[in-house]
Symmetry: none
Subunit: 404 residues, 2 copies
């Protein structure tokens, strides 16, 4: 009998994946599934298409059916959650049922569990025995950050299903240290190139209009737009085609987008305003102090944790009479100068927010060693959203000034 | 033909729901689906069982298949996302295909869109016409916060499918103001009682220990604990049993929890620290000014939008030499007094954050018309998490003072 093991000769490229996040806390909305996002980003970066993400309750028939359907559609199925010690946790039971195999206790895993409790000088709760359960076709995945080992199971036809623990601090390291290397060793995914351009001062529909249907409808590279809190993002994802690499096609599409909308691009990837301004200030060796009026702290929230921000002040509009200025921008320039002086920062930035019907005006003033600048921008929203947009306008004005 | 309309005679109680969140940004992990959690909490509170949550890519055949399967299993299907103006946005097309109906342009919706662009003095992008598309069986749901109206569609057998926009600030109000009242009017869900107690100054494992297994293992009411950013939440969810109402059983379990952990409860439901402090200040007719040092704006972020917050100051520890105080708390009391005087607020709150190995100390001082209070608290985390926890400690100290 010289039959090759399924792992040694998988005979299937792992090109598509489905993710199952298991736990009633997810379907009642008490907990947000962040694991699937982390797994999806990792898989996409390795050229795997994530076809679907499902959140399922701790209900064995539902989980069994979802595993079967996912295994019929995708090359790789990654499950998170339901590996705890409580009666609710039944992901192991569900996969044993799918595989038609009996659950058995792994003596080494059990010994490790008993030792963990002994180390804490606590009696071992018998309910935890189930965390040492396994099936014949499962390979155990070590969990240095918790009690439940993961499972790697090779299925007929070269498909793979993996069980990972739900707590992100256990899931993440197990994925990175044990699952991903094994997948890469087997040759997961294809060549892929993903790049994101972050735009400001333009709405999503205007971005769509400028880029035009031919670019946005192309199957490869895919060019997609996303209206986010901080930016409109243009995301380019490429696969190899006609002998050209993913990176080559990605770079070409990026150049096309930049030639149309380059003036609006303020960052790439997942750069935040705090990152972008922090870097732009550091490049000049400058520090910043800010004052905002009427925005409820929108600017300091946007810049939270930014290196080089020495002092931030938030004033409510009804708190103190605004100092009057004789011309547009004069008031903000004076405020910016005051903050800059008071806090001995290199740059002072002042924004004042003013509701205007359903819209919000942002009056921005900034004073730097190389000059002064005042500008008024309008956000087409009111309330808290309007304040957020106005703060972003203030950050964008400063960023443009620093890049000059 | 006197056939009753499906809406008038639904003949089906809406007891189970499935949620479909549509958008490739979700399945590539670029965006986290927060809409489904919000919808699930709302549905569960109305006695509806959420059987499954799926995140799907912008791929029409996948969405059509998922809608069909969900409509076969659940009474109610709620979709979010894919109502934007781009070629990617094809949730409308998918539901039209499921219903076997043609897409047509709703002239009133189109007129509203054109007017929105006219108000901004911008040319109307023809790509946006699709946001005015509808089908014969759809009822339009107004969107005061964006351009895409939602759809409510009655399906055979009394089932319902709803399409909502993806941006949470558009989705939330449409759900609360237009979908939920319509569902309640139709008699959604069963009798259910959900109540959440928010705790501070105690860790989750201590909460579990104090409540004990008998309370936490009961099938009805279910008592579950969740460690969150702002609090440890104890969630009680009850169904009717043995002739007793859900509310009666929920109240009984709440009383049991309060008798054990009542001292730690600072709020209920989804109350935030900004809500709780805003109310406690309003009850005394007081205003607040804050100053924080070393926290990167954690306190102003926590209190964002709080009524009664007149002024908030954030100072970086290296920015200015901290004024020296001769005894513990004296420095913070002096800072609190300074802010209170400078901003003419009733209460001054000062926090200073100090790293201590892997932990973070929060030095809190507060000055109010009725007295002064200083306290040091320790958060068992460092970095940004430590700063967040320290800000919460500051809020908790003020809240306890105001409730005295």
């Amino acid at each position: 009998m010289d039959e090759p093991s399924p792992a040694a000769a998988p005979g299937r490229a792992l090109l598509t994946a489905e993710l199952l996040a298991i736990g009633t806390e997810l379907t009642v909305g008490e907990t947000t599934d962040t694991n699937s996002g982390e797994l999806a980003r990792s898989l996409v970066a390795h050229g795997v298409v994530v076809a679907r993400v499902s959140n399922l309750p701790d209900h064995q028939p539902t989980v069994v059916e979802a595993m079967r359907v996912a295994l019929a559609r995708a090359d790789l199925v990654v499950c998170t959650g339901g590996l705890g010690p409580t009666p609710d946790d039944l992901t192991r039971e569900a996969l044993a049922e799918v595989c038609g195999e009996d659950l058995q206790t792994d003596p080494r895993a059990l010994a490790r569990l008993r030792e963990m409790w002994a180390r804490r000088s606590q009696p071992f709760p018998e309910s935890n025995v189930k965390q040492a359960w396994t099936i014949a076709s499962a390979t155990s995945l070590p969990n240095p950050h918790g009690t439940a080992p993961g499972w790697w199971v090779d299925r007929p036809g070269g498909r793979v299903i993996v069980l990972l623990p739900g707590p992100p601090r256990e899931m993440g390291p197990m994925w990175r240290d044990h699952v991903l290397p094994k997948l890469v060793g087997r040759g997961v995914g294809g060549d892929a190139d993903v790049r994101t351009l972050r735009l400001t001062g333009i709405g999503e529909s205007q971005v769509v209009e400028e880029l035009g249907e031919p670019l946005l409808r192309r199957a490869n590279p895919v060019v997609a737009t996303y209206a986010r809190h901080e930016a409109v993002d243009v995301r380019i994802s490429a696969r190899p085609e006609d002998g050209r690499s993913a990176a080559e096609l990605g770079a070409e599409a990026e150049a096309a987008v930049l030639s149309i909308l380059g003036d609006h691009v303020w960052a790439r990837g997942d750069t935040t305003w705090a990152d972008a301004l922090g870097e732009a200030l550091a490049a000049r060796g400058w520090t910043l102090a800010t004052t905002e009026r009427g925005s409820g702290g929108a600017l300091v929230a946007l810049l939270r944790g930014m290196p080089g921000l020495r002092r931030a002040e938030t004033v409510e509009p009804d708190a103190e009479a605004a100092p009057s200025g004789s011309s547009e921008g004069e008031l903000e320039l004076r405020e910016a100068e005051r903050m800059r002086t008071e806090s001995r920062a290199d740059v002072g930035l002042a924004i004042r927010i003013e509701a205007s019907g359903r819209d919000t005006h942002a009056h921005v003033g900034l004073v730097a060693p190389t000059g002064r600048h005042a500008e008024r921008r309008t956000a087409f929203q009111g309330g808290r959203q309007g304040a957020d947009r106005a703060a972003i306008a203030g950050a964008a004005v400063l960023h443009a000034f620093l890049r000059r």
